[in-house]
Subunit: 430 residues, 2 copies
């Protein structure tokens, strides 16, 4: 049936917004924003877009006006009443009132700060500067906008039936993964795919497919808006930006060596149980664990986000044993570049030895590989990172040197302070 | 575009549920349920469907199997996580935590109790028996189911374009009312049309039309599910069932005379501000006000729900004056059989003298008069009332003898106790 009013309305859209809500973001961003709001509210940071896939000329593919329209639209967003109610009233990780009243009041009044956009060598140079708690909330929506604008740029040349067949194939592809994963015993899997998703609607579809297809093996999504609308758990703890910024602020090598642990000390003051998850790889997992203070061994688990995941999990197990802890009571969360094969492999390898769970990202929400000519919809590695704090550059070493970032002199200094030696490179797919 | 999966799924629906949520009900039902849960949780009540429009043979129009399927479906419903979160976290009437934890825990575990259904003289005899807090929650969904099944029975004989034109006309009709009401100065209008709506989707459309068309003149809806989804205020206070059941439980004429005030005493212990609204007409407004205790004059307002609304409002104004209260600071809520003409008339008559507001019901959400042959979609007066409490019959006198109910010997006794003399009959349209 033709609904003339809807059609006229649609014709007059200026833009079709990609991000329509401030909570269309990862849950851990909100937890971290609260932590920063309480501990380092005045730190001045710069976040910057980094396209690790230099061969994809984003500024040629995506129209600058469209990009600005989308970013400008995000700056008009504010927390809606229902969203605030959900943040206040919902149970997160078994706890009500996860967010403090003063933080929520700040969040309710927040509009995202200005952005700075330039074009250089067919790439966008997109940066955000200002107070850490506000600037950090740009990361996920900025990435989601660039990923979806790139999808749209490819899709707009396709015909109606071509499009229908494309999505039919993508759905079939995902459903086959779900059927495979359904057979993995004791699996616990969450959606971590917001930032590099194909599109919002597609991520929402993927979550619903997992809800139906995986039942209790699907434990939730990192996306707050989808968690709220689909009434599933919001999942996530913390990320590299905390140790990176704390480290940049360190005034001496001694303070620098302590910074990653100071992050977790502040975190421990606020959170317990399943929110006490160590992210050890910012400056090398091995050294981090060797120098870790005693109290850290009592934490609930470790997230493995770079390097060889088997080696990372084995390092965690050895460390727990050396501290007199029982690894089979500990959680290991794998979240780096997973696909269904790797998930099944890791689960069979570590099931029983530790409590495994999986944060499945880009290959869940953006696996359009092989579905269009020239693989023009294949996902790629785009990130948005804190590059400086109070005027000093940030550094990341990671367990994969291809993920390292920062000025080379600072990288050398960090390697010395954190005792990082030879590292094994791994190809970054997403 | 044809979505084969959706079509196959739709073909296999057993029923298309009319009520899909336990909060697809009036807000005042939840407030009253909490009050009853706290004050009279063990009172045994019987609620019964009453079709005041005897000329409409519901049992001939509506298939009994379909009715049972819908009622059975409602018995499978329970409060969802998101609904509970909303009830816990949302601000109602400017207050958070309107509902107590023990009530919400009870509500989260509630399934509606069994129903009893028989057919007699082409009418359905539908009754519900049990603990008051649970049984009372049948009223609104039972009415909504019967109203919508009657709509569907008429609609299923219509063709596709006929249907489209029908809704186009209904929308036009409502929009003309909205345009008329937009010009009424200082109007405050709420949707009270859940129980006798044409359908859920239509009520939801009406609310959205008022949001856009009336702006701040539209203050909210009595329907909790729509209030949650559309992020507007949930509106409502209390109803006749409280004085009716309290009165039935009275052990003497003296206790009976006190019962309507006892209701408000219990209410006052729990609520303040805009929730302190007197509903004076259960046993005659005039006598109720004459015998009212002093503390009642400090309440915020009065709801006029039967009789001549001008006379009712004038009686309230005189009473406030006699108590030394300033009527211009008091609220009068009109909620009986309103249409746009009456709303505009009452507003112009009482604006400035009192604070007016309007609860617009059936003629908002079910005005399909004149749109199909034989007026087969015109709304009619269907109610579901408490008819007994702990084995004793309930009585309602109202300010309109056509709305009176109860055994005639008891009606006479109540008239004597409450000093009700001659009353003026008014035609009941809805």
């Amino acid at each position: 049936m033709i609904d003339i009013a809807s059609r006229v309305y649609n014709h007059n859209w200026k833009i079709d917004p990609i991000v329509r809500s401030l909570i269309d973001t990862d849950f851990y961003k909100l937890l971290m924003a609260q932590s920063v709001f309480l501990n380092k509210p005045k730190t001045q940071v710069t976040f910057s877009l980094i396209n690790r896939a230099r061969h994809i000329p984003l500024a040629k593919l995506i129209d600058e006006r469209e990009l600005r329209d989308q970013l400008d639209h995000i700056r008009t967003l504010s927390l809606s009443r229902g969203e605030s109610t959900w943040l206040r009233g919902n149970m997160f990780y078994g706890k009500r009132s996860m967010f403090r009243a003063e933080f929520l009041e700040w969040f309710e009044n927040l509009r995202l700060p200005p952005y700075h956009l330039e074009v250089k060598d067919d790439q966008y140079e997109l940066t955000f500067e200002g107070d850490w708690p506000a600037v950090m909330l740009w990361e996920v929506p900025a990435l989601a906008v660039l990923m979806e604008l790139r999808s749209r740029a490819v899709l707009k040349n396709m015909g109606r039936f071509e499009l229908q067949v494309l999505y039919a194939r993508a759905m079939t592809k995902l459903w086959e993964k779900v059927e495979r994963l359904r057979k993995v015993d004791d699996l616990l899997l969450a959606d971590f795919g917001t930032r590099r998703r194909h599109s919002y609607l597609w991520q929402d579809w993927c979550v619903q497919a997992m809800m139906e297809g995986l039942g209790k093996k699907f434990v939730g999504t990192s996306n707050c808006l989808i968690a709220m609308r689909r009434e599933v758990e919001a999942i996530g703890t913390n990320a590299h930006e905390l140790p990176m910024v704390y480290s940049a602020l360190a005034k001496s090598d001694k303070e620098l060596a302590e910074a990653p642990y100071q992050v977790l000390k502040d975190w421990q003051d606020e959170h317990d149980g399943n929110l006490r998850i160590i992210l050890p790889d910012t400056y090398g997992t091995q050294g981090f664990l060797e120098r870790a203070p005693n109290w850290l061994s009592s934490w609930t688990g470790i997230r493995i986000d770079s390097g060889d995941p088997v080696k990372g999990a084995e390092a965690a197990i050895s460390w727990w044993k050396s501290c007199g802890e029982d690894p089979s009571k500990k959680r290991v969360i794998f979240s780096d570049g997973l696909d269904e094969d790797m998930i099944a492999h890791l689960q069979s390898k570590f099931r029983g030895r530790v409590r495994c769970s999986f944060g499945w990202g880009t290959m869940l929400t953006n696996d359009f590989r092989g579905l269009v000519p020239d693989d023009a919809l294949a996902p790629f590695s785009l990130v948005c990172k804190a590059i400086s704090a109070d005027g000093k550059p940030t550094v990341k070493l990671s367990d994969n040197p291809n993920k390292a970032m920062g000025p080379s002199s600072e990288i050398e200094r960090y390697k010395r302070v954190f005792g990082v030696g030879e590292q094994v490179s791994q190809q970054i797919i997403v």
